[in-house]
Symmetry: D2
Subunit: 348 residues, 4 copies
């Protein structure tokens, strides 16, 4: 059960509802969004109904939601959400291109990749400073040094940055640099990390676990939402199957299915799903055609020297075709490419 508060409901009003719920043995999870506050109730629904919650001051609506995820469910939410990352919209009628290097390696490589991203039409820059790697002996990312490089490149290019965080203890630090926090496939059920990200005050890009069902993915998003953050973008990045010719299997159906079940935007990562450069453009076309709210693509100025996932990064030679498809395909599914931000942001 979810209580939607009227705009401008006071903290005291909200606190009194929390107390009232507790008085019948329930728990209330308060989510303060930009425009309105939502209170998720957990406990005995019949006892909640006896409270006549509709009649309380400040309550706009009381909803029963049948799915196990409440706040991210599309039930009772007519419109799909638009998430804004430092002003750049994802969702609604937009098709947003996010691009950049898999890992931040040097200032030069990061800047060059960011300029490639702009050229292709990207409005957000991706790049990892903390890399979760299967082997402890593999390159683990530059850490805070990488975050500083990203911040510098943002200043130069005007592209807000999306970057991964892998440990709850790092969330505050990463959020102090990033415009959007990315949670990777291996951490989709790292619940402490999800909760920390929910409290960090920045939008979150939540990748699907590589063997997770869509319901588990939405439950992971609910962990973030429950901590008061509904600025979540879901990212399908391929699931594990028996097929060996691709690194993962892009579950293209997950896009319309997740969009039906949840109001959150859903984007696609064609680079990590296929794991091969020559699949990135075909899969990008498929993603846009199926109706994704965006795509996130690896680009690298010199993939053969990349410290991470070079074989899947697009090169300069691919950018024109990428630019062409992100400009021509979205209109066919009723969308417009999110424009590239101006290169010199105000005050720089």
């Amino acid at each position: 059960m979810v209580i939607v508060m009227a705009p401008g409901a006071s903290s005291d009003t909200i606190d009194s509802i929390v107390d009232l719920v507790a008085s019948v043995g329930g728990e209330a999870y308060v989510t303060r969004g930009v425009s309105r506050t939502i209170i998720g109730l957990v406990g005995d629904v019949q006892r909640f109904e006896s409270l006549d919650l509709h009649a309380l001051p400040g309550v706009a609506d009381v909803l029963r939601i049948s799915t196990p995820y409440k706040l991210v469910s599309r039930e009772n939410t007519a419109q799909r959400s638009v998430v804004r990352v430092a002003g750049v919209p994802i969702g609604g009628d937009h098709m947003t291109l996010i691009a950049g290097p898999c890992a931040v390696e040097t200032p030069e490589q990061t800047l060059e990749a960011a300029l490639m991203a702009r050229r292709a039409g990207a409005s957000l820059l991706r790049g990892g400073a903390y890399k979760p790697r299967t082997s402890p002996y593999a390159f683990q990312g530059l850490g805070e040094t990488g975050l500083k490089i990203l911040a510098d490149v943002r200043d130069e290019t005007g592209l807000p940055i999306v970057t991964e965080v892998v440990d709850a203890a790092d969330v505050e630090l990463v959020a102090s640099y990033a415009d959007m926090l990315q949670i990777g496939t291996r951490n989709m059920q790292n619940f402490a990390l999800l909760q920390a990200a929910g409290e960090a005050g920045k939008p979150v890009l939540l990748k699907r676990g590589m063997s997770a069902t869509i319901e588990e993915w939405l439950m992971a998003a609910e962990y973030i939402a429950q901590r008061g953050n509904l600025d979540i973008v879901l990212c399908e990045r391929g699931i594990r199957t028996f097929e060996k010719s691709t690194r993962n299997t892009l579950d293209i159906s997950a896009v319309p299915v997740a969009q039906q079940l949840s109001h959150l935007p859903v984007i696609v990562d064609p680079s990590h799903s296929g794991g091969k450069r020559d699949l990135v453009l075909p899969l990008s076309r498929a993603a846009i055609a199926v109706g994704a709210d965006g795509i996130i693509v690896d680009v690298h100025p010199a993939p053969e020297t990349a410290l991470c996932d070079g074989p899947q990064a697009l090169t300069a030679a691919d950018l024109d075709e990428l630019a062409h498809l992100v400009n021509t395909l979205p209109p066919l599914v009723g969308r417009t490419l999110t424009p590239v931000p101006s290169a010199a942001p105000a005050g720089v």
Copy 2:
């Protein structure tokens, strides 16, 4: 190792090569295509090389192929194949729409579905007279009665027919009615059936096994090819994964991957992969955008009464959107919709 014969090579010439191969302990599989004959060699490659096959009369080329599938491999075959089904092309620059009912139930339902198919832009009619069902207590199809209905509807509508065969013993009968034989997902490794289909003289639509890798799928195609039939179209129809919100998971990457590995056309079945009507059009868009050579779609005049897979069949209300997308999307990927055959075929 594969020997490509010159056009017009005589049977005697071919027989002498078969004997020569046998003389060094090898086996030769002769594939007589429309324009040329191919001989696949199995055995000790070094001994074959000692035969100096290039120099033999009638030999146009001798190819070494490193993949386990030989005749269907794209190695050494620059061009992708075009398969013609009673004159209707699949492959090349075409995007072919195949549509019709999952199962043939009555003459009226089949005709109505065929007219729906035409209206949407289909150039081939699908429809099952033999249905492989998980339960022995489920509707198993009308058998030959169904084939006759299909033949009548072909006469009325001009649409050549694609229909499934489930047992090697039925191949001759089904081939006497059908323009293209379909082999279903559960029979992808029914090798006796594959071999019988390879000898039936009709093009074959080979669905991917629901847990098969792409390599296993191509090996199944090789079974057909090895019996002298290279008119094979591959059909991706969804694979089994942990995701429960769709019946199967459409492996959209399989299209470009199979097209890189094999010269055969690759089409997509968005109806059986998603298993839900409202996923069919988004998945059709994804399939065309990724570069599929065609799509095969269930349509039914009254899906709520369908004896098989009603929930995934498109209805009359969906046809305009289907027609729109098969006309507008292919040009964006350099293809043209295969035109609908004229309604009244010559002599009818």
Copy 3:
């Protein structure tokens, strides 16, 4: 709904029930077992109930079965079945060892493997004359020549033979030699083959499909049962998973689960599931300990020259340990090893 006929019910009595069921729009599937006849009804249960079937002459019982498989369900069947293969029991308190070569190659190799099987304690001989192979270029088995070898070895060793059939058209021939028909993992949903095996008058060993659920496996068994043959033994042989260090993943839980759901015996193939010699004995111990009704094991006198699956075949060096475990472990789970038949059968 299933009608159990009294022992000795006449054909006329049975036919009249079939007609009665048809008169209300239903279908009746008659299964004539050794001791009694069972009639499976498909159609509208309420209309069947209006017929007052209990009161009809010759009817012993009328059962409603809630599972989709009826005849093989354990619902309403208190006791688990014992299947006899030329007199050798599988099921009940027995633990039956089946052993032999993966493929019949020569008379000598087959005889030697059969003697190895006897030495280890096997009461049945396995061996393939028809091999379903992923590649059309791989060894496909000796066909009828192989069946004759098996029959000769049976004469010499006294071991009844279990051998695979891969095409419905071959069932009659194979059944004329074999004591038990094996249906392999790739053919678990080859429904024409299942039905033909159901009519062949020989017990059937039904391997689980490599990606099949237990319910689908029992539905496949139902196809056989529905044609009048309840002498079915289920064989768990490993399922496909992401794990690469074993050929398949032995689903050891499938044994107790299938035994709870069905009255049919359930055996385990530790050779094909692991795919490696050094896993066969540990997995055999696990299978017996979990409560399997038997195990089926590859043995080969010279695995390094085997035409099929040599790396998983036990050698002479392994036989003592195999003999030890099949003799010592079954008593711990309340079972006794089925004794090895006498070497020289009557009249030989």
Copy 4:
């Protein structure tokens, strides 16, 4: 490449090796075990070989290890390891029973479950105070209150405790109460948590990720080992497959495979893999028979009221059979049940 130091090698000696490795551009990971120190080298092997490491003071051996996991590999380690948890051994010739409630709920329930565990023959007590749950609205465990209950119950029963930790930030706190840290299936690739556990000075029970390969599992163990902790026990707890009749599929082959690849002990969790009470004892038998170093089992005095996973917990009625099997089966595979510690530990 791994350097094994002689017993008693000084810190200075070790430091000088680290510096030497760094001088040629490599990285050295020092692991100080109880009896000897190991240094894992990452970098250019040829340059390492030029250093003539064998000749350095304090170096006992220099090993090249071909697997991607180095410290946990069985390569070059003849003997399998024994891990001691507050004196209780796991591995070697032991078969160790770990039992207790899935979640700590109350002091009474925990004590009662611990007494049940003792009665069945357990030498270690399991119980969760931090529960990773798919839903943020499900019971998340008692936290530190639960840890205190466990410590009290340890004092009363003498059973050392194994308990889960879900966030790197909690490791120090949990380690201050626990005798062994458990890392759960969802956190198998939570690398920050693995590293923190590697530095906590307590043995670690590492569950396999529910879709992880054995190699990925061993790489996760390597993350712990690399931080200086080789007291790791691997726990197979079932993997995700298409089978729906069990919660997960126990990969019984993973036990011998992981034991061949790694020197670490491998135990089995039959409760979480099957998810059903009536599968726990059969799967326990299979686990011991296949050669597992231990089993970890849920027991609960009143499963119908359990806050977590009640349906899989054994009850008082099952204990005699459990006790019987853990006493009778291990000798058949050359093992002895680890004895139950004395109830009143010294000083209590």
